[in-house]
């Protein structure tokens, strides 16, 4: 199983001016998620948490870069 993050930059008129997607896998399926013991639960939750953190950090970095890229294009045009 995997987790997917989608981020969009939307201008004041509602137009999407940038979007990015990030994914991370290796998450146990709900039916395989170990809920019987604490050790098992922590092990599976660790996989989920690490995947979410990885995808979150990636999307955060990417969308910030996208936003900055748009800003610099606009600044160049104005000059």
């Amino acid at each position: 199983m995997k987790v997917r993050f989608t981020a969009e930059i939307i201008d004041d008129n509602g137009n999407i001016i940038g979007n990015r997607v990030s994914e991370a896998g290796g998450i146990p399926c709900p039916e395989d998620f170990d809920l019987s013991t604490k050790e098992g639960f922590l092990r599976d939750f660790d996989k989920l948490e690490k995947a979410v953190l990885k995808a979150r950090n990636e999307i955060g970095k990417d969308i910030v870069e996208e936003a900055l890229d748009n800003t610099s294009k606009k600044t160049k045009f104005q000059i």
């Binding site: 809920l35 019987s36 050790e39 922590l42 939750f45 660790d46 948490e49 953190l53």
Partner: protein, 411 residues
């Protein structure tokens, strides 16, 4: 559920639910690793501040310092229990009593535990040591009073395990202010041991000298290091020596008095015994030069023959002489050891003391409960030995000197 991602609600059942205390939150592996790393380096208040800042926790979800402290106590005592369990099993498997650390009555210990498997020095090795002695003797007025055969010294450091042990006391927090209760001791003594074999090392810590000695013994047993020569480096404290004598009576060993502590003690005692700064410095220099070549008898004779004109207090001079007499067996030929590149110092355990206990728990006005102090030192030990991923991921102890596979003796 506490995690790096935030505080999330989760429905849990059966064994997983029963394993929790009321209101206790399950902490994810990453969260435990992060908070432990933070709390073993910073105060609980600063750790909470930093974590709330880094994890963007607002008022409602904020991490409280008291919760962190409880959590560290829980993790620390879990590590200690696991370590005790593992150590107890190793001791029992080898014929030792897990409570006392002594061989069980009517148990015959195997030979490879009792006798080091070391070749006797051959003539070339003896010649190598004799050359070092001769070199030193030609350079110095104070001669080494032994020849190569008489000198107890290792020629190959891979035939030896160096064990440095020391106590570090932190202020004890008063458990109660009531007058009628018995007084708590002023300090909590964390005992730290540093075990070195070749390039590898391992740190162990526990509250109390006996507990640490048992851990050291089980560690040596588990890593098959009792077929080596055991060399203990200490500051000369009586309780360390008596515990070594008691626990390691079945195996030959050498105890070396750390040069720095010997020098410091001589400085302190002589400054109270002699008149005038110049006299003190002159006598101290000569005394240390005699001790550097391991001539404890010569040093005692030198002090006994000092002119009465320079003696300020006979009592302290006698104390100095009796100190040297008491420690005579632990005073080795430091000059030859230094020449051959062998260890003369217990500085490695002083460093471990600093890392595991002092940096976090001393000189900051804080006082500690026994559990609180021991827990932080134990968690720091996991980081220091480099198996934090194994502990936080699998709750297993890695009991091997080279950071090998984790140990699961419960299986």
């Amino acid at each position: 559920m506490e995690s790096e991602l935030g505080r999330a609600n989760a429905q849990i059942f059966d064994e997983l639910a029963w394993s929790q205390q009321p209101k206790e939150r399950i902490e994810s592996v990453s969260y435990q690793l992060l908070t432990s790393k933070m709390c073993t380096n910073l105060s609980y208040r600063k750790s909470a501040e930093m974590l709330n800042l880094v994890l963007h926790r607002d008022e409602e979800d904020s991490i409280k310092s008291r919760t962190l402290s409880d959590s560290m106590n829980r993790i620390g005592s879990k590590i200690s229990s696991k370590l005790k369990e593992v150590s107890g099993k190793v001791l029992m498997m080898s014929g030792f009593n897990k409570e006392t650390g002594l061989p069980e009555k009517e148990v015959v210990l195997s030979e490879n535990i009792q006798i080091p498997n070391i070749q006797a020095k051959d003539t070339s090795e003896e010649q190598y040591i004799q050359n070092a002695i001769d070199n030193i003797n030609t350079e110095r007025e104070e001669k080494i009073p032994f020849n190569a055969r008489e000198l107890e010294i290792e020629t190959n450091s891979l035939d030896c395990v160096y064990i440095s042990i020391d106590d570090v006391g932190v202020k004890h927090q008063k458990s109660s202010r009531k007058q009628e209760e018995t007084k708590d001791s002023k300090y909590i003594e964390n005992t730290v041991a540093h075990i070195q074999y070749g390039e590898d090392s391992y740190a162990l810590t526990a509250i109390g000298m006996r507990e640490t000695m048992k851990l050291v013994l089980s560690f040596l047993l588990f890593n098959n290091l009792l077929d080596k020569e055991l060399i203990f480096l200490t500051d000369g404290a009586k309780n360390i020596k008596s515990h070594i004598e008691s626990v390691f009576s079945f195996h030959p060993y050498t105890v070396i008095l750390d040069w720095f502590h010997l020098k410091k003690k001589c400085q302190e005692l002589l400054s109270m015994s002699l008149k005038g700064k110049e006299n003190k410095n002159e006598v101290l220099e000569k005394l240390l030069r005699i001790l550097w070549v391991g001539d404890a008898d010569g040093a005692i004779k030198y002090l006994q023959n000092l002119s009465s004109a320079i003696i300020k207090n006979e009592k302290w001079l006698e104390e100095q002489i009796s100190y040297l007499e008491r420690k005579k067996e632990m005073i080795k030929c430091y000059a030859v050891r230094a020449k051959l590149g062998l260890r003369n110092s217990s500085n490695s355990v002083e460093k471990e003391n600093d890392i595991l206990v002092a940096q976090r728990q001393k000189h900051n006005g804080m006082s500690w409960s026994k559990d609180g102090s021991g827990s932080l030192a134990t968690i720091k030990m996991i980081f220091q030995n480099g198996y934090e991923d194994i502990w936080f991921g699998q709750e297993k102890i890695s009991f091997t000197i080279s950071g090998g596979k984790p140990l699961d003796l419960c299986a």
